[in-house]
Amino acid sequence: MPAAALRRAQPGRALLMTLAFGFLALFLVAPLAAVFVEALSKGIAAYGAAVVEPDALAAIKLTLIVAAISVPLNVVFGLAASWAITKFDFPGKSLLITLIDLPFSVSPVVSGLIYVLLFGAQGWLGPWLGAHDVQIIFAVPGIVLATMFITFPFVARELIPLMTEQGRDDEEAALSLGAGGWQTFRRVTLPNVRWALLYGVLLCNARAMGEFGAVSVVSGHIRGKTNTMPLHVEILYNEYNFAAAFAVASLLALLALVTLALKSLLEWRYGVHGKAVR
């Protein structure tokens, strides 16, 4: 009897739930709470001062600039790659799918080093860049490049499964009705994937703002110039300026929470309108 079976399974269920929630509380909620507690440990005034201090403001600004450049570019790339992969057959397709995943499988530090090797003063293109007075490593362009590399897969990874599932029928229907390529994309494909795209953008943005390893390698840690928020947090922390470090960190944590909330909202919309949207 299912009811009896369920009742017998109850103790096991309770145990599993306790385990899951206990684990979450210990390893996720507690550290997150600690960030905010630590950030406010010297009072609201100190918190405010740490956040509006010029170097912190510069780091926030740089972080926003990096995200503002890399996220839109990744959206374009993600859409183009997913479109190509799911709507056309061409040689090298599986290679492209594998390459898109590369940044996930490579350590971020290695990703940063690749760019140093390419564009650094001792790198392959270093002499040429130096001769033309172009600075990429230890400057904003390097940070943007490294961030783009790291966030490459996010949009494409969201879109490819959905677009594969949706197939080509809608596009073919639009073409058979006389729509051109751009019209088909704008009026049929894009609306079909809009929620997944938004979801990908959110994840991409969170990673672009939070990336540490790759950016750390190419940034050069010049205060007020090439420090993003995560790098600024590390510098403050290494200077034993804990309250300020956690104050800036709390901004990143807030970003994570907002992303999480938006993500839940999107999932809820997906779920409710799933049939109509997908």
């Binding site: 073919e172 639009a174 073409l175 058979s176 009705l177 006389g178 729509a179 051109g180 009026r187 109509a276």
Partner: protein, 351 residues
């Protein structure tokens, strides 16, 4: 519009999807492409539409070579198996899509588009549902929206891929009749793909039976049903029994018994094909097929008997008026049957 396909071939890698297809459709004709999955029927339909392109061969619309025109340039209406309605657009927006994407110079004014949409929705009897989303419609309604959307661009040819495939049996039957009447009212040349012989025989003017990328037979429903060109067609367009026999001295012979079936122009291993309703239970002395009853069940006012013949693959089915007992030995006498040359190596059981 008339259609002519000349020597169409298409390969996917090493797999030959279509080889050397020749076919004509007259203006206003309703043609069915009938075949099992993998027979190439959908590929052929998509080649006519311009969604696929043949490796070799020519497609003519009204005697004009349009092989290299894109789907948009061919002015066809295509109805997809899963309808492919735009889910985020209302029914009216879906139907009006083809008009609204025209270049500005050719695009009708908004009011004209609305009027045309209204007219089309009335035509498919969905006049009141223009404001709904596709997800809020039943399968049959979605099918008709897809049809109205395809007609909005005034196509010269209507192509339908398994138009009833995604519907349940009852709706399917209704929509079938409706579509036939609709075709006659609108007067377009139409071609549809189906794997359901009943559907093809009931709706189409002519049926194109396909298998393995080739056309087996083209004919009116009664031609393919009553005069199938080969054992495959016989088998595919209706229920059938197939028994390996020997053709000799002008007759079919089954294990030494001379059957009352003439073998004209045929010698050697052959296949005897007959439909369940074209056979009777014989008396013990009759020249027929010796069999053992497996099962007898009432069916549409008669009794459907399943029997096995020792050494012959598959159960033999026939319709009778009295029910024999399972296990009983019977003699099956085909009253109307066809003989075809054995397709593969002669079956050992025939000897």
């Amino acid at each position: 519009m008339s259609i002519k396909l000349a020597n169409i071939s298409k390969k996917y890698g090493a797999f030959s999807a279509l080889h050397d297809i020749n076919l004509r459709a007259r203006p206003g004709e309703f043609l069915a492409l009938l075949g099992p999955s993998g027979s190439g029927k959908t590929t052929l339909l998509r080649i006519i539409a311009g969604l696929e392109f043949p490796d070799r061969g020519t497609v003519y619309f009204n005697n004009e070579d349009i092989t290299h025109l894109s789907v948009a340039e061919r002015r066809i209406g295509f109805v997809f198996q899963q309808y492919a309605l735009f889910k985020h657009m209302t029914v009216a927006e879906n139907v009006g899509f083809g008009l609204s994407v025209r270049p500005r110079r050719e695009r009708p004014p908004r009011r004209a588009i609305r009027a045309r949409v209204r007219e089309l929705l009335d035509l498919v009897q969905l006049g009141e549902l223009g404001g709904r989303l596709p997800a809020q419609l039943s399968g049959g309604q979605r099918q008709r929206v897809a049809l109205a959307r395809a007609l909005a661009v005034d196509p010269q040819l209507l192509l339908l891929d398994e138009p009833f495939g995604a519907l349940d049996a009852k709706v399917r039957k209704d929509l079938r009749h409706w579509l036939r009447g609709f075709h006659d009212r609108v007067g377009l040349t139409s071609i549809f793909v189906t794997h359901d012989q009943e559907e093809a025989l009931e709706v189409a003017d002519r049926v194109v039976v396909m298998s393995n990328g080739a056309i087996e037979q083209v004919g009116t429903p009664s031609e393919v049903y009553d005069h199938p060109a080969n054992a495959f067609v016989f088998d595919f367009v209706g229920e059938s029994n197939r028994v390996p026999v020997i053709a000799a001295d002008g007759h079919a012979i089954f294990r030494g018994r001379v059957l009352d079936i003439e073998a004209v122009g045929l010698r050697g291993a052959a296949e005897l094909c007959f439909r369940p309703h074209d056979a009777r239970l014989g008396a013990p002395g009759d020249a027929g097929l010796p069999a053992t009853v497996l099962l007898a069940r009432p069916r549409e006012g008669r009794v459907r008997v399943q029997a096995e013949i020792a050494g012959v693959r598959g159960a033999i089915e026939l319709d009778t008026d009295q029910a024999p007992e399972p296990g009983q030995a019977i003699t099956i006498v085909p009253t109307r049957a066809r003989l075809f040359p054995a397709a593969a190596a002669p079956d050992a059981a025939a000897a």
